[in-house]
Symmetry: C2
Subunit: 506 residues, 2 copies
């Protein structure tokens, strides 16, 4: 389908221009709201034109940086090229690009790590400053000037509303037949004018299939003709299967004990290989008619839909491998009946996560023996990706799992430590921790009880005696609510920074 | 009013008995749901009878401990006597009693520190185990067998529903004319049968004035004739006034800038002297027709209601000084029109806190330079009181303030530290930190930017150069997203544990 066929709103035709011409409309210092969530639906042409402009400006001795707010992560041709060109001043709320990550950790980019459910409202409240330009990928424009959203919705509704000017990237490669799959809720408001969100089931449609934009704000329409980044998933390894099996067993047991309703509850799953393995586990588990209520629809959830194990899935983005995307495109009529893509303030909304009773499953970097979770930082100082939506789901979900292999870097790092080097989820928000060693159910336990269960069930055998020793010595002195030895609490991380491993010298 | 006049449901009369007789119905190992929130509406007779029974059993060489779940804190004649008698095995979700605190920190009581909005639902889901007995203070029983709630509602609705047996303490001293002041919502459910809570304004009445109980579960009715604990508030000191003035100025500025609606938003205020000072500040501030949406109605909010500055206040407990309670009782018809007392799952509900756009103001023990907040632990291991509802409001509120004087213990302790020794609220949940030194607005700032603002605005001058030195040296090495020196990060706390002060040796 050509650009003209995609843009059926004739008033926009004179505004079609090259990405370079559109980038010229974005001056140094601009706050830019971009589309993009987990490598889906991000602009592909503008970021490269912005990077080119930055390099030219810098070569001419002029400053050029912009502040980029997105839904979540983008891809090498967005964050990567802009970071490489030193075009990013401030970046929020999430990033997975390795070049941007390096610049964040070098102190060159001011990265703000936010709960994904907070971003749209904080921007709307004015807490983040004015937004001059929105750059939003869409799949087309209807004859009425409504926008057909792309493979992610993210914060696009809000960006289109609050930005002074809008640049549309029309993607002529991604399937226009996604039209009708989106559910854009226009009932939000700024307090005190908010009302209940009328959703009582994860698959309730509460909005419209299109994004709205004030046509007078649209200053440029740019064509893109390339797909989203391919998301490469390794086949689940043995550890992932063990973690998944523990979770499935636990859920089945909870249902048997009457602590989980017989009809099951909607499932949220974080991003990555372990998450996909858990979803693969659900494929063979005893649960039917599952519902998904999650941020990102990955391969594993698409498999569940295709197999009929999951009846509907709600998300804010579709982030698939190449093979899965081909299946998605080929069977798009099937999936359109079963997938709802919504703004991330809805996909992650605390009101809905609590009401619907979501089962939350998120990965982490490390947990400590008391159940505090680090989802974001390597050795206390270096940002990995960001908290994403894990807090939205962990705090408000019916059940909340945090999962990780018990060790990383071939055993040099224990993912269960005396004290985490950064806290993203507190002990108050952690219910169940799972590693390939086993599952620790922390509900109704005091900190000392939690510590023993986590050490016994989740720690790797190589580190278990060291954790037990730490805990035993902490129990022999000082206050005993959360026994700690402050002089050693971060010692494992210090040792790793100094020697490359948490293992003590022989 | 006599007990017979208070208990108008005749079927209960044969079940009237002494507290000792009722305590005999509570065996060793029982999970007991008690009423009580911030020293209001707790049972006064049963806990003392339980303590007496525990002492007798222990003297006879028999074990006797019970697990006590409440709304929040109680008083010396409840937690205090039971802790003193070693009658408490497990205790949740909050405590301020000094004897119970000591036993918690000696490792004798298993204390579970929970978000107050989580308690009722986790108990109902079965996550905390079965509840055999509920002990609930009420002000009377109607002829239909409905219960007139006392000065707090807390988790009583849930305790009455899930307990196998119910013991009612009928308080014949507290004013029966509170009847009609309560708003008990019976629309909650276990997922997937939850529906939106139909509240769009903080003063919407959504429930009923009475608690329900299955009469067949009531095994004892016991009389109490004594008031709640007196809450002693010191007159706000100079630091409290400075903190309050900063907050009032900030709110007025935000309104002027259009970032806070002209009609203001409902106010939540934590417990204590600083909180009362902020409320006193609102008395002279430029805001009219305020609404309160908070956990605990303290003297300061009663003053605002009396003065007509606040039109309505919603809470789960009334916790007053003796003088304020006398005013409350004398003018109870006035206050009944203006106060709504609800279950704590409603007063603290994330859905409502976010929808209504609450302005949250909570005290803390310490903050670190990156905006992580410790609300619960002294030097990493000792429990102070608990997180209470601070997380419910901080995460979901429109604006969230954390306040503390910049130093404690006559300057021996800095309340701004390089790294907090325990995290209850993460950087993602902290918007504004206020000390008597000033106010740090952290919205839209990266960690490095936050650190400089917190050091400059909030730290005490005695500690400011030390914090700056830490930050400068951390910025000179290692990863720069959240610059830390892990070997020193908790060094201030270690020094304090060793020497009694965070000040370095001269």
């Amino acid at each position: 389908m050509t650009l003209a066929e995609r843009v059926r709103y004739a008033d926009f035709h004179p505004r079609i221009m090259s990405a370079d011409a559109a980038a010229a409309l974005i001056p140094h210092g601009t706050n830019v709201g971009m589309s993009g969530f987990t490598g889906a639906g991000y602009p592909k042409a503008l970021p490269q034109a912005i990077a080119a402009r930055a390099r030219a400006e810098h070569a001419a001795g002029k400053p050029y940086k912009i502040n980029v707010w997105t839904g979540a992560s983008t891809a090498p041709e967005a964050d990567g090229v802009m970071a490489e060109a030193d075009a990013l001043g401030q970046r929020l709320p999430f990033n997975t690009d390795p070049i941007a990550r390096r610049k964040i950790n070098e102190g060159q980019i001011d990265f703000i790590d936010m709960h994904l459910s907070h971003v749209a409202q904080h921007a709307w409240f004015g807490f983040l400053g004015p937004m001059q330009v929105a750059v939003v990928e869409v799949l087309g424009v209807t004859a009425d000037g409504l926008l057909i959203p792309s493979t992610s919705v993210g914060n696009n509704k809000t960006w289109l509303e609050i930005a002074d000017h809008v640049i549309l990237e029309v993607n002529t490669q991604l399937p226009a037949r996604m039209e009708g799959m989106h559910d854009i809720y226009y009932g939000t408001a700024i307090p005190p004018r908010r009302v209940p969100i009328a959703m009582t089931h994860a698959d309730d449609r509460i909005g419209e299939p299109y994004l709205r934009v004030d046509p007078s704000k649209v200053v440029a329409v740019v064509e893109t003709h390339r797909g989203d980044r391919d998301n490469v998933f390794a086949a689940p390894d043995a550890n992932s299967h063990l973690i998944a099996a523990s979770i499935i067993d636990f859920l089945a047991h909870e249902m048997k004990m009457g602590r989980l309703p017989k009809e099951m509850l909607p499932v949220q799953s974080g991003v990555g290989n372990v998450a996909n393995a858990v979803l693969a586990g659900l494929m063979t588990g005893p649960f039917e008619n599952l519902l998904g209520f999650t941020e990102v629809l990955q391969d594993g959830m698409l498999d569940l839909l295709r197999a009929g194990k999951m009846s509907k899935a709600s998300a804010t983005a579709i982030s698939l491998s190449r093979a899965a995307f081909e299946d998605f495109e080929k069977n798009i009529d099937f999936y359109r009946e079963r997938i709802l893509l919504r703004p991330q303030e809805i996909s992650n909304h605390p009101e809905l996560v609590r009401r619907l009773g979501i089962i939350a499953m998120n990965s982490m970097i490390e947990a400590d023996i008391y159940g505090n979770i680090n989802s974001t930082h390597i050795m206390g100082s270096a940002m990995m990706n960001g908290i994403g939506g894990s807090g939205d789901f962990a705090r408000n979900g019916y059940l909340s799992f945090f999962v990780t292999p018990s060790v990383a870097k071939n055993g040099a790092i224990s993912c269960i430590v005396p004290m985490v080097s950064h806290v993203d989820h507190t002990e108050h928000d952690t219910q169940i921790i799972v590693t390939e060693q086993g599952l620790a159910d922390l509900r109704g336990l005091s900190p000392r009880q939690r510590a023993q269960v986590i050490i016994d069930r989740c720690a790797h055998p190589d580190y278990r005696p060291l954790l037990q020793d730490y805990f035993d010595r902490a129990r022999a002195q000082g206050a005993q609510h959360t026994p700690h030895l402050l002089g050693e609490a971060l010692g494992w991380h210090q040792r790793c920074l100094a020697t490359g491993t948490m293992r003590p010298a022989a």
